[in-house]
């Protein structure tokens, strides 16, 4: 074997050695998830049962029974929290409009009226309620839906909405 070929062979062996270590690391990395999978398989809590463990899902599932499929709802949340997309997924094909929790009352009321939204959903957050939400809580156009869960839900009577006087 030529020295050049020996050198190349050692290089390949080095890469294969590193790969071997990396395979062991992968087993360690995915270990916890594999263990979770094994535990769940043993206990039979799989598929839809995993979702049931999530309070947000249970809340959305309860809302499915209340919000008609043809209805539109406005959801107040920060997109980056990643919860809004989950609620949208659970409630699909209901029409979904995302607005910021810090939205002004006038724009919130305008959107609800303009988009014929029948429901307003607000996900619980550490931040204090914004002006728009506070105005909604005190407006006769919003009727609370009594559902336990990580959020507030209101039926909206669009005919009672007035906007332009709340900011």
């Amino acid at each position: 074997m030529t020295p050049a070929k020996t050198w190349r062979l050692w290089l390949v062996r080095l890469i294969l050695g590193l790969w071997g270590i990396q395979v062991l690391w992968l087993i360690w990395h995915f270990g916890p998830e594999a263990r979770d999978l094994a535990h769940r398989a043993a206990s039979g809590s799989l598929g839809a049962a995993i979702r049931q463990e999530e309070p947000l899902y249970r809340w959305a599932a309860a809302l499915q029974a209340i919000i008609p499929e043809s209805a539109t709802y406005v959801f107040l949340d920060d997109y980056a929290a990643g919860k809004e997309i989950e609620v949208r997924y659970y409630l699909a094909p209901r029409r979904h409009i995302l607005l910021s929790p810090d939205i002004s009352a006038s724009f919130l009321f305008y959107t609800l009226h303009q988009e014929h939204a029948a429901f307003l959903l607000i996900r619980e957050s550490q931040k204090p309620l914004g002006h728009g939400v506070q105005a909604a809580l005190h407006s006769p156009a919003f009727h609370p839906v009594n559902l336990p869960g990580p959020g507030l839900a209101f039926r909206v009577d669009a005919n009672l909405l007035r906007w332009g006087f709340y900011d």
Partner: protein
């Protein structure tokens, strides 16, 4: 228990229909499907079947016909049956049956068992992880899975109720919604088995292409295992329901077939088949058309550089895959225009040089950090360096141009991304691994070629 069995049966029949349709179309696209190996036929059948069925679903929406399992499957399966009853189809089926009766025993050696065992280990984890957990990953819930659920509920390609990058191509969500129709319900965990299936077919195709290019069985199996178990990205994409794995599958299929054609070792009909997979790239993801265009550009540049016999005529023959790309791109584009859908301009607004500089360092980190793709990319760089001038004197150049060109394209894409300085690192983190995943199987094929050049083995034709 019986209900679970029926659900599983419906899933298998739904997946089987895709293979059946794809195989029948394969007999139309290539003169003799058995010129391709078993893994290639399986992978190509599934890819072509998925492509044809989802385009058919788009056509149904265009004609205002609501989806139902009968309408989705009936006409394509009737066409498939007609194709298989035609002389070419009958011959293909006859050859398959004959080969099935005389299947040679394969004696695996220790390395084969090791590599095979590693790949099987990945799927022993990924398959139940996909099939037994509900959809949860960001883009799956926000885009692909959400659209699939809506298409199923609305019995059509109705995007009026959400704003989820509505202009994105729809192969993945339509395929998921087809499985919901096959299952008779939205079962987003069970439908996810399609992703480990894409992954298995991708690895099988890589193995088969590597064997066809002259690697020994052990080396080809090792290469497939090296791709599957290098970093976390490939494994995670086997169960998170993103469109990136299908795009990587189509990119490998297109690149592999074009490489064989450039190397004059392609079975007949490979260029037509490559056209289908470029079409699939365009219909799979927003990044698909430019990725497919770079495949064609790399092939044209390789021909112009190497100047093989009849290279000008061969340049003209690239119009076949180009037509495939256009056919894959146009229907959805026309649908967007017809529906007056807004197209996001989230990629090109201006050039930001400071982002370009940062993108280079992020890209290098993405390529070198073992967390993402293990040692695959460093191994590729070493193999290419050691291949030396052979890289410039063979069709290997095509794969190198495609991979290298797209790495440059990634940097340029980040340089024009309209994000704030604060958001830029998160933006790169959320996208870079996926952009690299599209290229990584082709990079693995190139690595295989590099190894073959370094350690030539006796010619071993692939087992049909």
């Amino acid at each position: 228990m019986i209900e679970a069995g029926i659900t599983l049966l419906r899933l298998l029949l739904g997946l089987g229909a895709l293979f059946f349709l794809g195989y029948a179309l394969l007999t139309l696209l290539v003169p003799r499907p058995r010129d391709f190996t078993l893994w290639e036929r399986a992978a190509f059948s599934f890819g072509v079947g998925a492509l044809a069925l989802t385009f058919w679903m788009l056509a149904l929406t265009w004609w205002g016909t609501p989806f139902s399992l009968g309408r989705i499957l009936g006409p394509p399966l009737a066409l498939a049956a007609a194709l298989l009853l035609a002389p070419r189809g009958r011959r293909a089926v006859r050859e398959e049956l004959q080969a099935f009766q005389v299947r040679p025993r394969i004696a695996l050696n220790g390395w084969d068992w090791l590599f095979l065992g590693l790949v099987v280990m990945v799927f022993l984890y990924a398959l139940p992880r996909a099939a037994l957990y509900p959809m949860w990953a960001w883009d799956a819930v926000a885009t692909w899975g959400c659209k699939a659920k809506i298409f199923y509920a609305s019995r059509g390609l109705d995007l009026t109720c959400i704003e989820a990058h509505n202009y994105y191509p729809n192969l993945t969500p339509l395929l998921l919604s087809y499985l919901y129709f096959a299952l008779g319900q939205v079962n987003d965990s069970l439908a996810k088995v399609i992703f480990p299936l894409w992954g298995a077919l991708l690895l099988g195709l890589l193995y088969s292409l590597a064997a066809r290019l002259g690697l020994s069985r052990s080396s080809a199996l090792g290469l497939a295992a090296f791709l599957a178990l290098n970093g976390t990205v490939f494994i995670v994409h086997l169960y998170i329901a993103y469109a990136d794995l299908p795009l990587a599958f189509f990119a490998l299929s297109g690149a592999g077939l074009l490489y064989l054609w450039l190397a004059d070792t392609a079975p007949r009909g490979s260029l037509t088949l490559a056209a289908c997979f470029l079409s699939g790239m365009a219909w799979c993801k927003y990044e698909g058309p430019p990725l497919a265009a770079t495949l064609l550009l790399a092939a044209a540049l390789t021909l112009a550089w190497l100047r093989p016999a009849h290279w000008v005529r061969r340049l003209g023959q690239l119009s076949v895959p180009l037509a495939g790309l256009i056919v894959g791109y146009l229907p959805w584009r026309l649908f967007i225009v017809q529906q007056k859908m807004e197209i996001g301009a989230d990629h090109i607004q201006g050039l930001y040089p400071h982002q370009m500089v940062k993108a280079v360092s992020y890209l290098l980190a993405g390529l070198l950090d073992p967390y993402y793709f293990g040692f695959l990319w460093p191994a590729l760089v070493l193999a290419l360096i050691l291949a030396g001038t052979r890289l410039w004197r063979s069709p290997m150049l095509f794969l190198a141009l495609f991979v290298g060109g797209n790495l440059v394209a990634i940097i340029l894409a980040y340089a024009v991304a309209p994000t704030s300085a604060a958001e830029f690192p998160a933006y790169v983190r959320a996208t870079l691994d996926r952009l690299l995943l599209h290229l990584t199987p082709v990079a693995a094929l190139l690595l295989g070629l590099g190894l073959k050049e370094l350690f030539p083995t006796p010619e071993s034709p692939p087992t049909p």
